[in-house]
């Protein structure tokens, strides 16, 4: 059953509490922003393929905080090796949700490999992540992984700030306090 991406992301982020969020570039960055821009989001505008690894670095650095990576199928496909690396490191506080519309949404809605049946959950399972339904991804010890199949749709952009240094600095200050500037 396919859902609407903004509804899935909104549900994931309601009552988010102290959740730390990394969003893959493009549509998932807009989805996360539509749910409410906050300093504890790190929406990427580039570095395609690295969202899950950024989540890993953050999760290992702050093991007492829950970290959620929300990314697209195209972005995840570019970083499949990172699932193997995460499966080795096994951070208990990391969750990954792939919003899978089976399309490259920013470039003309071309089909990704998942449209042809490539099974991201199968890859994650083979890498020893806990594959689970997306609504439960934050309720189980990590590393958890879920795919939310969504309808391909063109919807209004909701853009976060673009400047990378700003996104970094506001995230660190919100997470680490004023000390962030002195580390």
């Amino acid at each position: 059953m396919s859902m609407h991406r903004r509804q899935v992301v909104k549900r994931l982020l309601e009552n988010r509490g102290e959740l730390l969020v990394v969003a893959g570039l493009g549509s998932t960055a807009w989805d996360v922003t539509a749910a409410g821009d906050t300093p504890l989001n790190f929406p990427t505008w580039g570095a395609m393929g690295q969202a899950a690894m950024m989540g890993l670095g953050l999760a290992l650095a702050r093991p007492k905080r829950r970290v959620l990576v929300i990314t697209g199928d195209g972005e995840m496909l570019m970083g499949l090796g990172s699932l193997a690396t995460i499966g080795v490191q096994r951070p208990g506080n990391l969750a990954i949700v792939v919003i899978d519309n089976e399309r490259y949404g920013e470039t003309g809605m071309q089909e990704t490999h998942t449209a042809a049946g490539v099974d991201l959950e199968g890859v994650a399972k083979a890498c020893a992540l806990t594959v689970i339904d997306w609504e439960s991804v934050l309720g189980q010890p990590g590393p958890t992984f879920a795919v939310a199949k969504v309808v391909p749709e063109k919807i209004p952009l909701v853009l976060p700030p673009r400047e990378g240094a700003l996104l970094k600095a506001r995230f660190r200050r919100a997470l680490l306090g004023p000390e962030a500037d002195l580390i």
Partner: protein, 172 residues
């Protein structure tokens, strides 16, 4: 030995994560980092993952150093754009191949392009000439990265690593 000296520099700089794709020239340093309880060595499936790891760890307040071979520099080019745009501090310690005495011709193109590629993407390159200059170069790179929010690399010359054949590399 220079790997022990590099490890001492990383420990003194409170480096918490060491991301690596192995290289024979980094063997000793990887072992030292694996054995050091104050560090977490993270083996990567490709060097590019190290940039994501370092960026995420810095968002969480921790320092990361990456270890790779010169061929790996080719794998991180696009994501170095994020390092520059976000001013993430980054130290990359690169063991060089494709220099004087190279025994694998496939290593030569990337080895010869390593410095230019890093500099094109805004990384400050330190290239110590001799083994005794390596630890001071790492010290300088660590200070540049973590005090000035820069991307800094140290290229360890193939001559200092001293591996001259496949047989010698395999018997490391």
């Amino acid at each position: 030995m220079w790997p022990d000296q590099i490890h001492a520099e990383l420990a003194a700089a409170s480096v918490r994560f060491v991301g690596y794709v192995p290289d024979a020239g980094h063997k000793r340093l990887i072992e030292l980092c694996e054995a050091d309880k104050s560090m977490r060595a993270v083996v990567l499936s490709t060097e590019e993952e190290g940039i994501g790891l370092a960026a995420g760890a810095w968002l969480g307040g921790e320092r990361t150093v990456l270890l790779m071979q010169s061929s790996g520099v080719g794998n991180i080019v696009n994501v170095l754009g994020m390092v520059k745009e976000c001013r993430f501090p980054l130290v990359t310690i690169v063991t060089m191949r494709g220099e004087e005495g190279e025994f694998n011709p496939w290593q030569v193109p990337m080895g010869q392009a390593t410095r230019a590629v890093l500099e094109a993407m805004g990384t400050v390159v330190h290239r110590p000439a001799n083994a005794e200059d390596i630890a001071p170069a790492v010290n300088a790179a660590l200070r540049l990265a973590f005090h000035s929010y820069a991307s800094a690399a140290v290229l360890i010359p193939q001559r200092a690593i001293g591996i001259k054949s496949f047989q010698e590399q395999a018997s490391q």
